[in-house]
């Protein structure tokens, strides 16, 4: 998120000292998890419906550090989601760029992408399994399918909604289409493209896990389902938390990319990048003022 006008949902929260903030976070955490733990231990909450946090935590500990059983599932799921992401994004962006360059393609082909989008991708899962089988490829295919649309529509929008004056400026400078594409269209579209990639990332994970629910021999999705079928609720919850962890790590990755690539949207980054470019310039060209 940019620091330019990032008040957003936090507007109106009174500024606390760092220690007070930490205490606040701790307090809220304690109320939620302490209450939950006590409720479960005293039997107000049925452990078959909502296991105590410590039971879930213990199960996680076991998965990661005692049996190590989770790693393979984790890696497989991440692999499937990432491959699906890469494939879906490549196709989506490829089509968007083609559509942006060719008005004919845009008019006659792009509408199918929209029809495609309003059809819930998840509902296609049975077909995907039928076509791609029970292995990795069906998970990757569903992930790709679910995450294809946001990069497509965002890239197309970004490339087409270029400031009219910028277009005229480039034309008056005698720019070729290719120069305009690389020097103006692509960089102008980057913020919205990256927003599309963030949505796609979440979509890829959802697609992978849903496909695993349907049929799989490995992956966090099937792991969770196995626990659930055995009424092993702490195991199921632990698997859910692993999914959140995956989502979180992928999200963090995207945020990092956003931070690195979109430096001109953050004041602190502009200063950093500006002085870096200054050093580079001075090293290459010397100081013309001197």
């Amino acid at each position: 998120m940019s620091d330019i006008g990032s008040d957003g949902v936090l507007a109106g929260v009174k500024e606390l000292s760092p220690i007070q903030k930490l205490a606040m976070h701790g307090l809220v955490f304690l109320i939620i998890f302490g209450g939950w733990e006590v409720g479960a231990r005293l039997g107000y909450v049925n452990e078959l419906i909502l296991p105590a946090p410590t039971s879930i935590a213990y199960r996680l500990y076991e998965m990661f550090f005692v049996t190590g059983s989770i790693y393979w599932h984790y890696i497989i799921t991440m692999y499937e989601a990432t491959m699906g992401f890469i494939i879906g994004v490549s196709i989506g962006m490829g089509l968007a760029i083609t559509a942006a360059i060719s008005p004919v393609f845009r008019r006659y082909w792009a509408p199918y992408a929209v029809v495609f989008n309003v059809t819930p991708g998840i509902a296609v899962t049975p077909f995907i399994i039928a076509w791609f089988g029970f292995g990795w490829s069906s998970k990757i295919a569903l992930a790709a399918l679910v995450c294809f649309f946001p990069p497509f529509i965002n890239t197309l929008t970004g490339l087409l909604h270029i400031d009219k004056d910028a277009t005229e400026l480039f034309r008056s400078l005698g720019s070729t289409k290719k120069q305009f594409f690389w020097k103006c269209q692509i960089p102008s579209a980057l913020p919205i493209i990256i927003a599309g990639l963030k949505l796609a990332m979440t979509g890829a994970l959802i697609g992978t896990i849903v496909a695993q629910f349907f049929s799989a021999s490995e992956g966090v999705g099937i792991l969770m389902q196995r626990f659930a079928f055995r009424l092993n609720m702490d195991g199921s919850f632990a698997a859910l938390i692993v999914m959140s962890l995956m989502g979180l790590s992928l999200f963090t990755l995207m945020e990092y990319m956003d931070y690195k690539v979109l430096y001109w949207r953050r004041h602190s980054r502009m200063e950093e990048v500006g002085s870096k470019r200054k050093r580079k310039w001075l090293a290459e060209n010397g100081d013309f003022s001197a």
Binding site: I4, G174, W264, M270, E271, G274, F288
Partner: protein, 257 residues
């Protein structure tokens, strides 16, 4: 010495679609090195006339010559500046100024040196490596001006370049612009809504009236140069203001609003 005419329009017209006559029967000659102000109410075709001259749009009738050649498209001796600075946000000032050279493939040490000097000339020393979002609106327009100078164009088409800025900044930038384009080489066409500004800057004011867009009057401004802000209170200056007003009022009388 015979005046060299850089721009000539005769019976020049531009129509959009069936009904909108944006420019009709424009006849004018613009000598080299002169400063022309184009003034008139919104929608009277000022931007359209500018874009015709720049080669960004095609005329629908008449003749338009730049340096005795029919205008067929953008040319490297014409540069433009808009109300918005139109800077690339991801580029520092100096990188923005170098854009014309990048597009023409003429980037070298000499071009970089010129870009640097142009930034100093428009008063942006120490802001060479700032990004547009780190600059005020006035400073952004200075970068745009430096980029225009960098094109090496000697015909400058300025479409309300400082129109979005506050009064003080605008006056300062107007004076700096005059200083930069004075002399016999650079020909300037400056679009504005502001009558005083138009007169203050120009050798000649073209007054445009709408529906259809016409050049209703071309008024020579015979005030001493270099201009200075005190002149704006003299009776001669006010006579010019009145003349422009009369042209606009004479036209607008009886026109539906």
């Amino acid at each position: 010495m015979a005046e060299e005419l850089v721009i000539q329009g005769s019976a020049l017209g531009k129509q959009f679609g069936e009904n909108v006559i944006a420019v009709e029967d424009a006849n004018f000659t613009i000598p080299r090195g002169s400063f022309i102000s184009l003034v008139g109410p919104s929608g009277c075709g000022k931007s359209t006339l500018l874009r015709l001259i720049s080669g960004l749009i095609e005329k629908s009738g008449g003749d338009l010559l730049v340096r005795n050649a029919e205008v067929v498209g953008p040319r490297s001796d014409i540069g433009m500046m808009f109300q918005k600075a139109v800077l690339l946000d991801w580029r520092t000032s100096i990188e923005n100024v170098l854009l014309p050279d990048e597009i023409r493939g003429t980037i070298d040490t000499d071009a970089k040196k010129r870009a640097w000097d142009h930034l100093q000339l428009v008063g942006l020393k120490d802001f060479e490596f700032s990004f547009p979002r780190q600059l005020s609106g006035g400073m952004q327009q200075r970068v745009a001006l430096a980029r225009l100078l960098q094109t090496g164009a000697d015909i400058m088409l300025l479409d309300e370049p400082f129109g979005a800025l506050d009064e003080f900044t605008r006056e300062r930038l107007n004076d700096e612009l005059l200083r930069i384009v004075e002399g016999p080489d650079i020909t300037t066409i400056f679009v504005t809504h502001n009558i005083q500004e138009a007169i203050y800057l120009a050798d000649q004011v073209f007054v445009m009236t709408p529906r259809p867009g016409r050049i209703a009057a071309q008024i020579e401004i015979d005030l001493p140069t270099p201009r200075n802000i005190d002149m704006t209170t003299t009776p001669e200056f006010n006579d010019y203001v009145q003349q422009v007003r009369d042209v606009l009022a004479g036209h607008l009388d009886g026109q539906p609003l």
